[in-house]
Amino acid sequence: MKKFIPLFAAFFVFTGSASAQIKPSVVSPDTLYPGKAYSPYAQRSFPSHVYWGDSHLHTGNSLDAGLFGNTVGLDDAYRLARGEEIKASSGIPVKLSRPLDWLIITDHTDLMGFAPDLQKGAPAILADPQGKEWAEAFQKGGVEAGKAAFDLIGKFSQMKLPPALVKAYSPGADVFAGVWEDNIKAAEANNEPGRFTAFIGFEWTSVPKGFNLHRNVILRDGGDRARQVLPLTTQPPIGTTDPLDLYQWLEDYESKTGGQAFAFAHNGNLSNGWMFPTEKTYAGGVVDENYVKLRAKWEPHYEITQIKGDGETHPVLSPDDEFADYENWDVGNLDLSELKKPEMLKGEYGREALKQGLLLEKKLGFNPYKFGFGGATDSHTSLATAEEDNFFGKSTSVEPSATRVNHPFIESELGKIEGYKLVASGYTGIWATENTREALFDAMQRRETYGTTGPRMRVRFFGGWDFIDNDLRSRAPAFKGYEKGVPMGGDLKNAGDKKAPNFLIYALRDPIGANLDRLQVIKGWLDGAGKLHEKVYDVSVSDGREIVDGKCKTPVGNTVDLEAANWTNTIGAAELATVWTDPDFDATESAFYYVRVLEIPTPRWVLYDKVRLGAKIPKEAELTGQERAYTSPIWYTP
């Protein structure tokens, strides 16, 4: 029997006329929080805010996005993320339900291509005596500016231009740097510490033979450092598709600039088994000590859910997990040039990678798959939309229309992925002390993050050895969490004489979202015989349902009105919380634990298309789903 703490039952202290609770605490302030000040705000150095963002967004500057018809540029991508209303490429007005706190624009580096370096042109104008005169005249305005303009045009037409200006504009001069420079500039302009963080980043789009090995790169730094380098591409001879080369690029970036960066992958589900190799790598290498060491160093984060499929797990890998079959894309690789075979799945999903990581760590000394989780859109529309009722699709071609559900999104001779299979997902929540590049980057690196399929639920997850039920009853359980344990992304060590680790877990639903169905702990471990296992425990459920042997067999129900695309929060709970102890702990076995939070069923985006646009939804399409959050794991190492 697992511990299930009926949180609310324990809590109601004000009953009728009883008012005994409204009086000064009798507890001495000195013992309230050992090592802390009486004021809860003094010396509060732990992260007390969750900051929401999209770690993976393309603008029209990405070649493929541009070719799909995306005409929305960097400016508008940031404006939308900051909460303003803009127009999508299709002309439809769009606004987020709430602003995001941060954004990484990750345009593809390959074929960033053309951009005449006009910024160099401006100084070139000034360097020339004639150019300087013109510039000054422009500054003065009025008649003089008009004269200068005519003069300038006249000189252009006669080819009597300042030579420096001509040279700066010569075809072939630094053709690549333009878009990178634009990305940097836009990030710098939109980065407002404390209010909105705009990271500088890019996507390294390695996709040999259609096997998705993509990585995004995020920099902790500003333009001064980013400008010293060019992002890595994948086309030889300068570019490469081997992740080991990307690690080298990161190493070089840090040593040259003194900055910090890391990489994070996504869509293992479209790699046909190559995303999380355990023996050989696609580039022809072997998974040896060097590989696992470098991967562990440079990839502390993984994008577990996004538009092109949810990447937590697959029913074939997790047959006992009744919620495993969620928004999976398992037809083939990215261009569907090779169909999926079941044996490929092992190298594709986040949960399985966490397990294989334990085995590789035992074999080679480092765990290459020790990453935290995040969600992102990977939208190519410049629009970071992840909510079901506000979903602008993967690309401009599938922005809202009555027919977008009816066309295959990817199609080849071998198979297809239907338009209705697009996933309105996701965002990343980061627990950090403040909204700055530095604080958010550091939190991602220490894996204090979680991914959601779009909703912004608040989720805390702490692991320790000494949590008691009372720790939850504190009005600020995070104090106890940080004092007595480690947060999501952390490590548990030194079991000592303790019987089993326990976990302080709580989740509060999105303030404008759906209630919660349940909290689950997913445990993976490596037994003494070298065999890997996983188990899903229900640890807290809504509506007074019963948990027997870690399972709540009663579904939460479904209030979705299929005609109105609506639901009610009459089932589920606004918040769930528990202190849970691992009932199957063996101190000699390495293990990881992460939390999955499930919402009650809500409409999928296709249903909004039906109600708002009269779309004819194919019979095969799922109409409702249980959105979720995945916390970064906590690892136990013997």
Binding site: F8, F12, Q21, R79, A115, G141, G146, K147, V229, L230
Partner: protein
């Protein structure tokens, strides 16, 4: 189009148009390639074009390839790598020219989009040359007061009551608790009062926007109505109802330019770019005669 210099004033948009027009002219002049005219979408793609069979890889080009490599890899290329870079460039140039000779660029939707995209990059870069004056920024701030308005900030405490769990007794509980709290006043210890909620009970100065992020917009709006200095409520949120004590409210206000200069400058440039692009497009469009021979294919019948 005839410009009257007397009517020119300090208008960045105009400068943009002038500069833009000039630069396009410049590109035409120094582009060098004398390609067959290709000004009709109807042209036969099979028409062969003559292309130069002379390829010179200049020292400048090689330096540029090496520089690109160095900026990616933080070291110069080896002899062998440089050879590969040059070979690749030659290969690309030959194939590019052969493709051009065959007219493969014509009417290719990808090439067309790419050209359009390049044009946008180009015009945006030109627009970015325009720098705002103090007056521009002041005007932008004045015409977008809501965008830059500084949020109200609250120092407040809240006691939460779970509506779902309390059911029918909610109203009675709210009234009774509110009376208790008012009696106890500002100094009351609420750490054991009300139902649990995984949000803090008291907040240091927190902006309206941040309150809305945690409690929802409805609660945040409700808080604005509350008079500081007493227990008030209930205010509803998505979670249930709250009794609140606002210790201090710092009212929202319009900022001076210096407080928001960077943001205003960013938005001014962004607006500029948008308007410039549109203006430039309109200017170009005015130079075309567009005939649309629209057949009845919309599925809604012919337009009436």
């Amino acid at each position: 189009m005839k410009l009257n210099p007397l009517k020119l004033s300090h208008q960045p948009l105009l400068h943009f148009l002038i500069l833009g027009g000039g630069l396009f002219l410049l590109f035409n002049l120094i582009g060098g390639e004398d390609e067959a005219a290709n000004n009709s979408g109807e042209q036969n793609p099979a028409t062969p074009r003559s292309i130069s069979k002379e390829i010179v890889i200049s020292a400048g080009r090689i330096e540029s390839l090496a520089a690109l490599y160095q900026k990616t890899w933080q070291r110069p290329p080896t002899e062998q790598e440089l050879g590969a870079l040059i070979d690749n460039f030659v290969r690309e140039e030959i194939m590019y020219r052969q493709a051009l000779a065959l007219g493969l660029d014509r009417d290719d939707p990808i090439v067309r989009r790419r050209m359009r995209q390049k044009l946008v990059f180009f015009t945006e870069d030109i627009a970015a040359l325009a720098k705002p004056t103090q007056e521009d920024l002041e005007k932008h701030l004045a015409t977008h007061p809501d965008t830059y308005r500084l949020d109200a900030k609250f120092t407040f405490r809240q006691v939460y009551l779970n509506a779902k769990r309390r059911g029918e007794s909610l109203d009675a509980d709210v009234n009774a608790l509110l009376a208790e709290l008012r009696t106890a006043g500002a100094a009351v210890d609420i750490s054991q009062t009300g139902d649990a909620l995984l949000l803090d009970q008291s907040y240091q100065p927190t902006s309206q926007r941040d309150v809305a992020k945690m409690f929802g917009q409805g609660f945040s709006d409700g808080l604005l109505e509350v008079e500081p200095g007493d227990w008030q409520g209930p205010i509803r949120s998505g979670f249930g109802v709250h009794l609140v004590f606002v210790d201090e409210r710092i009212d929202g206000r319009q900022p001076a330019l210096d407080e928001v200069r960077a943001a205003v400058a960013r938005d001014w440039s962004s607006t500029m770019r948008r308007e410039s692009n549109e203006a430039l497009f309109e200017k170009w469009r005015s130079q075309y005669n567009i005939t649309i021979e629209r057949p009845d294919v919309s599925g809604e019948g012919a337009p009436k």
